[in-house]
């Protein structure tokens, strides 16, 4: 009886694999420093455990929005004043990229949040909505407010660091990443972000040190590979740069374009 069930579970897992496309997914808990705050970087296996627990956000993470919605509706009456319930709904809308709806539920969540920790959580997600809609100044402000209310929260720090990194405020970004690395020195994105900051401040060797801390399995990720290749290029290690680019996943069109740019430079530099 158990074997067929396992087989069935595997079947569903495999079936859903094909539709689950998360370029940031991390398979190992130890590499996910934000695993207690977010499912954003869960792979299917890790998500599956949550799905079994009827976690609607996990379902949304798997793009199973209708199922998640059913759970939300069932739980509505018992959770009218539960900030977490509203936050979960808004998280799902964010994952669905329906930001105005997400904002609506975040406003409701905020009205029901009682503690600073709760409010911090919601502020972070409001910041994410602002970020997604390219309102960076507003996003930055929300992330900062979230951190101010709950210094232990990691996600707002991470998000803030990304904003800083985008606009070149590398010291500011580095402050946040250092804090994050203290909490988890193995997190893929923490390491990648730190390495990127070093790279962008022209501290290539230092950047490479942190890139090399990233487990090999993840170095082919497009953003990581692109950054690494650039580092190698700036260090003049053209072969390394090339091989890094060759191993890249090439799933992200933004980074694929960047990889092409680097390759052109490599070719020029190597006379090819």
């Amino acid at each position: 009886m158990i074997k067929p069930l396992i087989n069935l579970s595997l079947f569903f897992l495999i079936a859903s694999c094909s539709s689950y496309n998360n370029m940031r997914q991390i398979k190992e808990d130890k590499y996910d420093g934000l695993r207690f705050e977010s499912f954003n970087r869960y792979d299917l296996v890790r998500l599956d455990k949550q799905v079994k627990l009827q976690n609607p956000v996990a379902l949304c993470q798997r793009a199973e929005y209708n199922d998640a919605n059913d759970i939300f509706k069932d739980r509505l009456d018992k959770n009218l004043n539960n900030y977490d319930y509203w936050n979960q709904i808004s998280t799902c809308y964010i994952l669905k990229k329906e930001y105005t709806q997400a904002k609506k539920f975040l406003d409701i969540a905020m009205s029901t949040a009682k503690t600073k920790v709760h409010k911090s959580l919601i502020l972070n997600n409001i910041g994410v909505v602002q970020l997604e809609t390219e309102n960076y100044q507003e996003a930055k402000d929300y992330f900062k407010k979230a951190i101010a209310l709950n210094k232990a929260a990691l996600s707002p720090r991470y998000n803030l660091s990304q904003v800083f990194m985008k606009f070149g405020l590398y010291n500011k970004a580095q402050e946040q990443i250092k804090t994050l690395l203290k909490r988890n020195a193995q997190d893929i994105d923490f390491l990648n972000s730190y390495a990127h900051i070093e790279l962008m401040q022209n501290r290539y060797k230092q950047a490479l040190v942190f890139f090399n801390k990233i487990p090999k399995a993840y170095r082919s990720r497009d953003d990581i590979a692109t950054n690494m290749a650039m580092t190698y290029f700036m260090l003049g290690l053209y072969d390394n740069a090339k091989s890094t680019l060759n191993n890249a996943d090439k799933e992200d069109s933004f980074y694929s374009a960047a990889q092409v740019d680097i390759l052109k430079k490599l070719d020029k530099a190597t006379g090819k």
């Binding site: 994952l95 105005t100 996600s155």
Partner: protein, 958 residues
């Protein structure tokens, strides 16, 4: 008298002779009048004719006397009619002498004439005839008691005149007979009866027989009458059979020769008369105490008389038998005969007779029964009771139009012996019979009172008792609905129906109560309430609805509050089942139930409204919002204004719920519905207005937001600035640029929120700074107009920035030229110095821009400085003086390198300052190039992370 028949015949013949074919048929009166006139005329004519004769013979004179006598008779006939009429009218007040004036006059005239004739002709041969005529005249017209004298004289003087003698003796015999002088009569009849040629012989025998009977000579009497009877059968003789038979019957019984009588009747009586005669004989026999003989006759008659052919005689027979058995105390036979009465066709008088006979019998039995019951400690002869009841049953059939009365009597009989159940049954039947017009006397009150009495006495169970009371009460009320007792009966009857849950009768009873006692409003309302309570308890919503409709129309003048309360209860009952269906996950069935109620005419408006509203709520829950709104709107058509107001809270909750169920579109629609329905409540509407806006913003439906503001701002006092700000945030943050501009302009938000609007204008300015100069210029114009501190700063800084760009442009175009032919290091050095000197003003000017303190412009200025110094550094590095001097070249290169390095480090310095600036003020700037720390990397490829793609949402709480 003798000639009367002759004249009649004459007249009738003359009429037939004189008739000329078919004539108009005369009435009897007309005929009699005509006949009299005719006879009178004939008499007068004959008298006149005789009078014309001068010397009248004795014969003629006698004839004249006869005619005068006939004339008297004629007038007596006429005046007798008049006498009879007036006698009928005036009774004893009418005297004969007053009426028979003419008769008496004519009699006296005729009498005098006759006597005169006798006097005149003392030996006339008509003497006996004249005396005979005088005797008849005296007998018939005057009553002067001279008849005897005249008859005797007629006989005396009629020797040799057999005919006159015979006639005189016959009359004398009749005279004596009438005077009951039997002996004298017999004497005359003995002589008279010798003449058998007289047609009256049979009559004479009859009278003779009676005389003999009176003389106790039964045998001769019987024989005479028998003979008279037999001779009457002969055409020659006068038919006196009836009288003879009547006499014979008496004679047979008195003479104790009943057997003989039976035989005679059997042998000689004509068939059609036989049975009657037997019956008469039986009656007489019974009357004289001859039971056996009577029974014999009765048995004979029973065999002879056909019930179908001789119905009257048959009935008479049975009636006689009844009397017979009653007289001789034969109860069984009596009962048997009485039972036969049921099937006998009685004539009216026979029926009356039968009724009387039975009534007498039964009455007597009732007395016995009652006496027994009283006397013997309530015991009685059940046989008598049975008989009484049977007799009444018979009476009920015989005298059907009084059936009701007999049923009453039966009931009374039962009651008298305390058989109350039977009594009750019959009282009820009596009542019904009375209603069917089967009783003359009004038995209603008697019966009703008796019924109530019986109910009291009988130990009924509840069901039986109520059934009987219902009957009695209803009857009472149908008869005397306005009676004082009825006033107490109505509620009692209602109470019984209430126990039975008989709503139809409850209502009809109440209606009758109201119709007859319209002042008992309080009591009637109480009864109505009892009915309502029961309907509520049994959840009979159909009837309850009808009752409430009644109340709404003013039935019993219930106050509005009470009506409303009832409506609420009805709604609760109706809707409880539907609510349960919905709770059990069957919303479709619940909807069907509500819909049916809504479309059912007899439910009150408030119920229909509530049903529609509840449908709306179900549709809201099932997220069929089109239908939800539709049904809310429908409900409002039926609600009162007060009720509509009370629904506001629900609707607002529904709107909220719809929002919470993620359906912002329909939440907004509900909000708009609320605004539309309650537009006048401006203060309350603000919250809903805001909710409507926010719901549309949640869907990012900007046109709907504007529509709501336009259409419903009249339903609030003022659109709050905070809401406008909220809309403004949304418009900017969700990139609705043109809508935002329209909104700002429409609501003059540049005045309300100048700093915020200025910030947005600036961001948009920078967004289009390089990509769309025209748009950027548009925002620049707006910034100029808005005149905030920041906008003015920006414009001022930009103005200087443009200047520095010009300066840099000028500076960049210049380059030191070196004469290749005649390189002059000093000249080069001076040019270089000049060139370096020209940079300083630019840097100084840059400082003024930096000092202005606009972040983006400052960084752009740093970009300019970085670029200009970088370019200068490269420029310096590229210079060479073609002097073939190794030392010179070594020194030159060294100095140029140092200069380049200095300039580069200055450039780096500008980068660092730029970086420091943005880090310090956390400037998120879009315009940053050369001063970017990673400018070299960015020139290869922009590998800056897409922050949004890296963003982490916190979906888990701790």
């Amino acid at each position: 008298m003798k000639y009367t028949s002759f004249y009649l015949l004459l007249i009738s013949l003359s009429f037939s002779v004189l008739s000329k074919g078919p004539e108009k048929v005369m009435s009897k009166e007309e005929f009699e009048k005509k006949r009299w006139t005719k006879i009178h005329q004939l008499i007068e004519d004959e008298i006149s004719t005789i009078m014309k004769v001068r010397k009248k013979s004795q014969k003629l004179q006698y004839r004249l006397f006869e005619l005068k006598s006939e004339k008297v008779k004629l007038y007596k006939e006429k005046e007798n009619k008049e006498f009879m009429i007036k006698k009928m009218k005036y009774g004893k007040k009418i005297k004969r002498k007053d009426i028979f004036k003419k008769t008496l006059k004519l009699y006296r005239s005729a009498n005098a004439y006759g006597l005169n004739l006798l006097k005149k002709y003392p030996r006339t041969r008509y003497k006996a005839a004249i005396y005979y005529t005088l005797a008849l005249n005296s007998r018939d017209f005057s009553y002067d008691s001279k008849e005897l004298t005249y008859l005797r004289r007629a006989i005396e003087f009629s020797k040799g005149q057999r005919n006159v003698n015979y006639l005189a003796r016959t009359s004398l015999a009749e005279y004596y007979y009438n005077k009951k002088n039997w002996k004298a009569a017999i004497y005359q009849y003995d002589i008279v009866l010798n003449n058998k040629d007289d047609e009256w012989y049979s009559k004479n025998l009859l009278n003779y027989g009676w005389c003999k009977l009176k003389s106790q000579k039964f045998e001769i009497a019987i024989t005479s009458l028998e003979q008279s009877y037999k001779l009457s059968g002969d055409e020659f003789y006068v038919d006196v059979r009836d009288q003879a038979m009547t006499g014979l019957i008496s004679f047979y019984v008195l003479g104790k020769q009943i057997e003989r009588g039976i035989k005679f009747i059997d042998k000689f009586t004509i068939e059609s008369e036989k049975n009657n005669s037997f019956l008469k004989l039986a009656r007489k026999s019974s009357a004289k105490g001859h039971y056996k003989e009577t029974e014999t006759i009765v048995s004979l008659l029973e065999d002879r008389v056909s019930a179908k052919k001789e119905t009257e005689l048959y009935a008479d027979l049975r009636l006689f038998q009844f009397d017979l058995y009653n007289q001789y105390h034969k109860p069984k036979k009596l009962m048997n005969i009485a039972q036969m009465f049921k099937t006998i066709k009685f004539s009216d008088y026979q029926q009356e007779d039968a009724t009387t006979k039975i009534a007498e019998v039964v009455g007597a039995k009732q007395v016995i029964l009652k006496k027994d019951f009283s006397k013997h400690d309530q015991s009685y002869d059940r046989g008598i009771l049975t008989e009484i009841i049977s007799y009444f049953d018979i009476l009920a059939v015989v005298n059907n139009k009084e059936k009701g009365l007999y049923e009453y009597y039966k009931a009374e009989t039962y009651y008298s012996v305390h058989r109350f159940r039977d009594a009750l049954k019959n009282y009820k039947i009596s009542l019904v019979d009375y209603e069917d017009k089967l009783a003359t006397e009004d038995l209603r009150l008697k019966n009703i009172d008796a019924i109530f009495s019986c109910i009291d006495y009988i130990e009924f169970n509840k069901v039986e008792e109520s059934k009987e009371l219902v009957f009695a009460f209803n009857k009472y009320l149908s008869y005397w609905p306005k009676d004082k007792k009825a006033q107490t009966i109505f509620p009692r009857l209602f109470g019984i129906y209430l126990t039975r849950k008989d709503f139809s009768n409850m209502q009809s009873t109440l209606d009758r109560y109201i119709a007859n006692f319209n002042k008992d409003l309080k009591k009637q309302r109480d009864l109505y309430r009892l009915q309502l309570d029961l309907l509520i308890k049994t959840e009979n919503t159909t009837l309850l609805s009808g009752k409430i409709n009644q109340m709404q129309k003013g039935y019993l003048a219930f106050d509005k509050q009470e009506v409303k309360k009832s409506e609420t209860i009805l709604a609760n009952i109706l809707f409880n089942s539907f609510k349960k269906l919905n709770t059990d996950g069957k919303p479709d069935e619940a909807l069907a139930g509500y819909q049916k109620v809504h479309f059912t005419d007899y439910y009150p408006k408030s119920i229909k409204a509530e049903a529609a509203f509840n449908m709306g709520m179900i549709y809201t829950d099932t997220q069929d919002h089109n239908n939800a709104i539709k049904w809310y709107e429908k409900s409002f058509k039926f609600y009162s204004k007060k009720e509509i107001n009370s629904k506001r809270v629900f609707l607002e909750k529904m709107s909220l719920r719809t929002t919470l169920l993620h359906d912002f579109l329909y939440a907004a629609k509900i909000d708009q519905f609320i605004l539309k329905s309650y537009c006048s409540e401006k203060k309350k509407n603000l919250k809903v207005f805001t909710s409507a806006i926010r719901n549309d913003l949640a869907n990012d439906y900007i046109s709907k937001v504007f529509y709501t503001i336009k259409s419903y701002k009249k339903c609030i006092k003022l659109v709050p600035q905070s809401l406008k700000q909220e809309i403004l945030y949304h418009l900017y943050e969700n990139k609705h640029e043109s809508d935002m501009i329209s909104f700002i302009d429409q609501h003059k938000l540049n005045i309300v929120f100048p700093d915020l609007v200025g910030t947005y204008y600036e961001r948009l300015f920078w967004k289009y700074y390089e990509s769309s100069p025209s748009k950027s210029s548009k925002y620049s114009t707006r910034l100029k107009q808005i005149k905030t501190k920041n906008s003015l700063l920006l414009l001022a800084a930009l103005k200087d920035y443009k200047k520095i760009l010009k300066k840099v442009n000028t500076f960049s175009k210049v380059r030191i030229s070196i004469n290749k032919e005649k390189p002059d290091p000093n000249n080069f050095s001076a040019s270089l110095q000049r060139r370096l000197g020209n940079l300083q003003p630019i840097i100084s000017f840059a400082d003024t821009i930096l000092k202005k303190g606009h972040g983006q412009v400052s960084v752009m200025t740093y970009d300019v400085l970085t670029k200009i110094t970088n370019d200068l550094s490269r420029e310096v590095a590229s210079y060479s003086i073609p002097i073939n001097d190794k030392n010179f070249q070594k020194q030159f290169k060294g100095q140029m390198n140092m200069l380049t390095k200095n300039i580069s480090s200055q450039s780096d310095g500008f980068k660092l300052k730029s970086q420091s600036l943005i880090e310090k003020y956390e400037l998120l700037l879009t315009q940053r190039d050369e001063s970017h720390l990673a400018y070299d990397i960015l020139r290869i490829s922009d590998i800056r992370p897409k922050a949004s793609e890296m963003a982490i949402t916190i979906g888990m709480s701790k």
